[in-house]
């Protein structure tokens, strides 16, 4: 390290205390919950969604983004092995759809605080996490109220999640409020990449996911997932596999240049 830099660091430490500057160490470690979707577990979020942290599914812009369907798919997966809470602030949850995604409804608690009651929903989520709910999904929606009204409730929820080691996934519309950006340890930006059609019907939605923030690894990873909509009126006994799947990517072959031919011609 250059002498001038060392001197500057020493001056800052002596002036502001030894805690003012710390050397960056290895990325923070956290237990993870596997989503059973390879692209989510391997590429975007190493190992899966983190325990004790807030994961944010943020819409890239207005219009459909697939964040709520993805959240409900994750909740359905989680309900098979955990008690699961779903805070429906968007007012869009259809338990029948949740059952079609393979959820165990006996393990699901749906919290409906009312439209645009963000603070109340976050307070209720915190109460359940504190009581021991291991997995909580929060679907924010509607008109965004002022952040000052609910940011303390969000901070309390994040603290409870950290203390209990719970998994908390929050789906938020665009634009993402500053308190949410701050509280999140892992932010996946969801952007719709087009409808998946089959026999003239819309069978699913392709969603492009980008890791815009990660305290557990390097951000910037991108991947596309297909959210396949289950058949209507299907019962929970019929649906077995999760509907979030990864499209098989075709390998790209590049022509190998004929170096010898170029040299001969040149």
């Amino acid at each position: 390290m250059p002498d001038s830099l060392s001197a500057a660091l020493a001056t800052l430490r002596s002036r502001y205390g030894p805690q003012a500057l710390r050397r960056g160490g290895s990325p923070e470690q956290a237990g993870t919950w596997s989503t059973a979707v390879p692209v989510l577990d391997d590429v975007l979020t190493p190992g899966g969604l983190p325990h004790g942290r807030v994961t944010l599914l943020a819409a890239a812009g207005r219009g459909p983004s697939g964040r709520l369907t993805l959240l409900q798919s994750l909740a359905a997966l989680a309900s098979r092995s955990h008690d699961t809470g779903y805070v429906d602030l968007a007012g869009t949850l259809d338990p029948g759809f949740l059952a079609d995604l393979g959820a165990d409804l006996d393990a699901c608690l749906v919290i409906s605080p009312g439209p645009e009651k963000w603070e109340r929903g976050l307070v209720m989520a915190r109460a359940l996490v504190t009581a021991g709910m291991p997995w909580v999904g929060v679907a924010l929606g509607g008109e965004q109220s002022r952040a000052s009204l609910w940011e303390h409730a969000l901070a309390a929820l994040a603290e409870a999640v950290a203390k209990r080691g719970a998994i908390c996934v929050i789906a938020t519309p665009a634009p993402v409020a500053a308190p949410l950006r701050h509280a999140s340890s892992l932010t996946l930006v969801c952007a719709a990449a087009g409808w998946q059609r089959a026999n003239g019907d819309v069978a699913g939605l392709r969603v492009r996911l980008t890791t815009s923030k990660s305290k557990l690894g390097a951000p910037g990873a991108e991947a596309t997932v297909l959210l396949r909509y289950p058949r209507p009126y299907a019962t929970a006994e019929v649906v077995g596999l999760p509907s979030v799947v990864v499209p098989r990517l075709q390998p790209i072959t590049l022509p190998i240049p004929d170096v010898a031919g170029v040299a001969a011609r040149g």
Binding site: S34, A36, D106, L109, I111, S112, G114, A131, P134
Partner: protein, 412 residues
């Protein structure tokens, strides 16, 4: 792909049948009436029905629900006693205290008491020993023999208790409900008599015959009642234990040394009251579901605020936390002469022994209890559990129904 274990709670409900609490209260008050024909309901000249009758009165032909004058004609030597609500409540409270020693969720009615036997108890090796202990405890409180039934649901447990005898326990193992219920007559169903009459008109004479029908067929004939009939006949009723909320209320009042508007003094006074109340709660092993603070204003109406905290307060620290949140709502416009802190919705603070080998076993009870508190604070529709309908028909919005997250151990 997912963990192999799955959190499942086998629900077991105990039902204890005993003589009407009003009769027992009368016998405590007048021990000389033991063995005599006693009719509970009031004087025979009143136009009231018989509430309960002793064994000797029933043997003489007295029936519950018949007019008191008719009962007098059936049994002229009977002693008519009025209802003693205070005595009944004392007995009911004693039943709850005794059952709560061994079961986390109890319900005490006039002629039945229910207890939750789900999971395991650290003191007893199996369910039979646990049920025996509960029965012995009830017998010591009521001083009569109890008929006990244990099953996987409230409805089947009640029928098992009816099939049992005083001093005996009838257990219906999980999975045997249908076999137990099959030979029983239709009049045991808790439905409108018109429904049972219609079932009989179809040639159905027992629960086994009803259980053999499909849910769609029963729904077409009886509407929503049909689905309930289907579940009851198979012993799959969703009625759990409905704990009676404690009506007790405690409060601590502190008269201030001279009316004052000084917030520091008011804070100190409220803290003193909260500490004293919290100590009482800890001593009695109770937790408060609702907390209130009252400022008594000199020569004016008192101002108050109350809250149902997310977690029940069982000690001084938790109570102070709940009270602190209320102080911001109270803005006295005149000097305060006295402060009062009150707690209501008292319930036992103890719980059952969680099964350590079953991950999340204890957490689920806490989650459901928290859900109940959130429902009482924010509304019954704010926290619910979805359930798929058995035969929804063609309308997608009828594919599911909402139900309350029941107390731990109770049947869904």
């Amino acid at each position: 792909m997912w963990p192999a274990w799955r959190l499942e709670v086998e629900v077991r409900v105990l039902c204890a049948r005993h003589p009407h609490l009003g009769l027992l209260a009368a016998l405590r008050r007048y021990p000389e009436l033991r063995g005599e024909p006693v009719i509970l309901g009031g004087a025979p000249e009143l136009r009231l029905p018989v509430v309960a009758a002793s064994a000797a009165a029933r043997a003489a032909g007295v029936r519950v629900g018949q007019p008191l004058r008719q009962a007098q004609q059936s049994c002229p030597a009977a002693v008519f006693v009025p209802l003693d609500p205070a005595g009944i409540e004392r007995l009911r409270a004693a039943i709850c205290v005794e059952l709560h020693r061994l079961s986390p969720t109890v319900e005490a009615g006039d002629e039945e008491a229910f207890g939750d036997l789900s999971g395991r108890h650290a003191e007893f090796p199996d369910e039979a020993a646990w049920a025996s202990a509960l029965a012995r405890g009830l017998r010591s409180v009521l001083d009569v023999e109890i008929a006990v039934g244990v099953a996987g649901s409230r409805f089947v447990a009640r029928l098992a208790a009816r099939a049992s005898h005083p001093g005996r326990i009838r257990r219906v193992r999980s999975g045997d409900e249908a076999v137990f219920l099959a030979p029983l007559p239709l009049d045991v169903l808790p439905v409108d008599p018109a429904v049972t009459a219609r079932l009989a008109a179809f040639g159905l004479d027992c629960l086994g015959a009803v259980a053999g029908l499909g849910p769609a067929d029963l729904q077409r004939q009886f509407g929503p009642d049909g689905l309930r009939l289907y579940r009851l006949a198979r012993g799959e009723d969703s009625g759990g234990i409905h704990p009676v909320p404690a009506q007790r209320a405690w409060s601590e009042r502190l008269m201030l040394d001279g009316a004052t508007g000084d917030l520091e003094i008011l804070l100190g006074g409220v803290r003193q009251c909260a500490t004293a109340l919290g100590g009482r709660l800890t001593t009695e092993a109770l937790a408060a579901g609702e907390v209130s603070v009252v400022f008594e204003i000199e020569e004016a109406e008192p101002i108050s605020a109350s809250v149902v905290p997310a977690a029940a307060s069982g000690n001084a620290g938790e109570l102070w936390t709940a009270v602190l949140g209320l102080l911001g709502e109270l803005k006295p416009q005149a000097p305060v002469a006295a402060v009062r802190v009150g707690v209501t919705r008292l319930s036992p603070a103890t719980g059952r022994q969680a099964d350590l080998l079953r991950p999340g076993d204890g957490a689920r009870e806490a989650v459901v209890a928290t859900a109940e508190r959130l429902r009482s604070r924010f509304g019954a529709t704010t926290v619910r559990r979805p359930r798929l309908a058995l035969d929804p028909g063609d309308l997608p919005e009828r594919r599911f129904t909402w139900e309350a997250p029941v107390a731990a151990g109770a049947t869904r």
